[in-house]
Point group: C2
Chain length 251, copies 2
DNA sequence: CTGTGTGAATGCATTCACAGCG
DNA sequence: CGCTGTGAATGCATTCACACAG
């Protein structure tokens, strides 16, 4: 997951649980694929398999949106595509700006998955004036100085931050001050934002670290200890050798 | 957040809840920053703020690792860095391969956050033979034909997939067959893998869609309806106009 | 007297299992 | 009769609040 928001209590939104909202895009993707193959209807079982969840969860999720299925039959693909799109707000066009056009920012600018889902890259912004010369993904790279003007001229409410960590908080503040209320953060920093602004973060190295955790366990516990924690010990035992603590973290 | 695994029941790992594991990298990042500023100790309150969580959660999380704090004082920064690194398996070196060297794959290859946390990019792999000519991030791009050999020669157990969606499942199967047991998937597809293989996915457009959902709500509900669902209606009312369903999804 | 560590309480999310619609 | 929609049951995660270690 690279999922995660900062701030804001888990107020469920218009009755739809966060966990469900996070899965709607998955369903939408699976449905879009079915739609392209002209499949007219689909059962919860089939769709769940395509989306990688179990069918009970899917039916529960859909029940929050309304009664869109037909008992004994399944769901109408086109209709569901429309309903979920509408629920997610994808029936409108969302202009976004990408700030920080390094390797990652450029990759994002070129990423087709945005445009195909109602997100339009309205501008690319970078602090390096030298970048203004060469266009990225067919667009000019504009200078950070004009950030506020770009935001308001284009009515942007969603910003993507792919700057180095050090610049992210300041960029974030300028975006918010200029009117952005949703931020997708790729910089490895915790952003602090005022109430009413949503932040989601994607941290590439965090995902790998989580994998490493599980990977380590696979290697270690070939002989199952039955999962039970040793009665005492284990709680007392550790607690600083108090001298040999190595500076293990690489750089 | 782009978090999420496919398959495998939520068996908590060695007594540490998944939700806690997912936060350990955040704590580690905050601690590393403190360590670099030579801060010797930190309270749960301070560290929580730096990591963007609340202090009760942080203390509970740490309690799963052991008793590493000192009451009335706080936590020893260096010691915690070491313990969390060890818990996450970052005290060892993890060779990874990146398959699919497009814009995103290249950005990942250049991403500094991997190397600095014990992940070593052992090889870049792409299906396009033309890519073999020009190195990316100072490394040669190798051809998919050699995938199996590269995996076993380098003892790779973690693979990153940044191919187009269409190629992902097949690449995944070859990685798994060659011995990879953890996969970080950037392709917008559900991967199916055998038991014992972990998959985490990062889907850029999903994150934006979740933001759009909340953004839409902000725009709509300026006059608060008190959050209560209208008594009846709302459940019955929708259900297909059954004719005017537009093909709304943009291409 | 400060701040950790943790039982107990609360609140979500997932899963079960089945009534009942089409 | 098949498959949706949903109450009820279960299982996690978060939060509270406080005993007690240093």
């Amino acid at each position: 997951m690279a999922t995660g928001r900062t701030h804001r209590p888990a107020t469920r939104s218009r009755g739809i649980p966060e966990a469900t909202v996070a899965r709607l895009p998955l369903y939408l993707r699976a449905l879009t694929a079915l739609s392209e193959r002209s499949v007219p209807t689909v059962s919860s079982e089939e769709l769940a398999a395509a989306a990688g969840v179990n069918s009970a969860k899917l039916r529960k999720d859909f029940s929050y949106l309304g009664s869109y299925g037909t008992r004994g039959v399944g769901y109408d693909v086109e209709y569901l595509v429309y309903q979920i799109s509408r629920e997610l707000g994808l029936t409108q066009d969302w202009p976004v700006v990408i700030v920080g056009i390094g390797n990652l920012g450029a990759a994002l600018a070129n990423y087709g998955g945005f445009a195909s889902r109602g997100f339009r890259v309205a501008a690319l912004i970078d602090a390096d004036p030298a970048m203004a010369g060469t266009p990225v993904a067919g667009m000019p790279v504009q200078h950070t100085d004009d950030l506020e003007k770009i935001i308001s001229d284009n009515g942007v409410s969603i910003g993507v931050i792919s700057t180095p960590a050090g610049a992210a908080q300041q960029v974030c503040e300028r975006l918010v001050a200029a009117g952005v209320t949703s931020i997708l953060n790729f910089a490895p920093t915790v952003l602090s934002v005022p109430d009413g602004v949503d932040v989601r973060k994607v941290d590439l190295s965090i995902e790998l670290q989580i994998l490493a955790f599980h990977e380590q366990r696979k290697a270690g516990e070939e002989a199952p200890d039955d999962g039970v924690v040793p009665p005492v010990a284990a709680k007392q035992q550790r607690k600083g050798p108090d001298g040999d603590v190595p500076a293990v973290m690489p750089a």
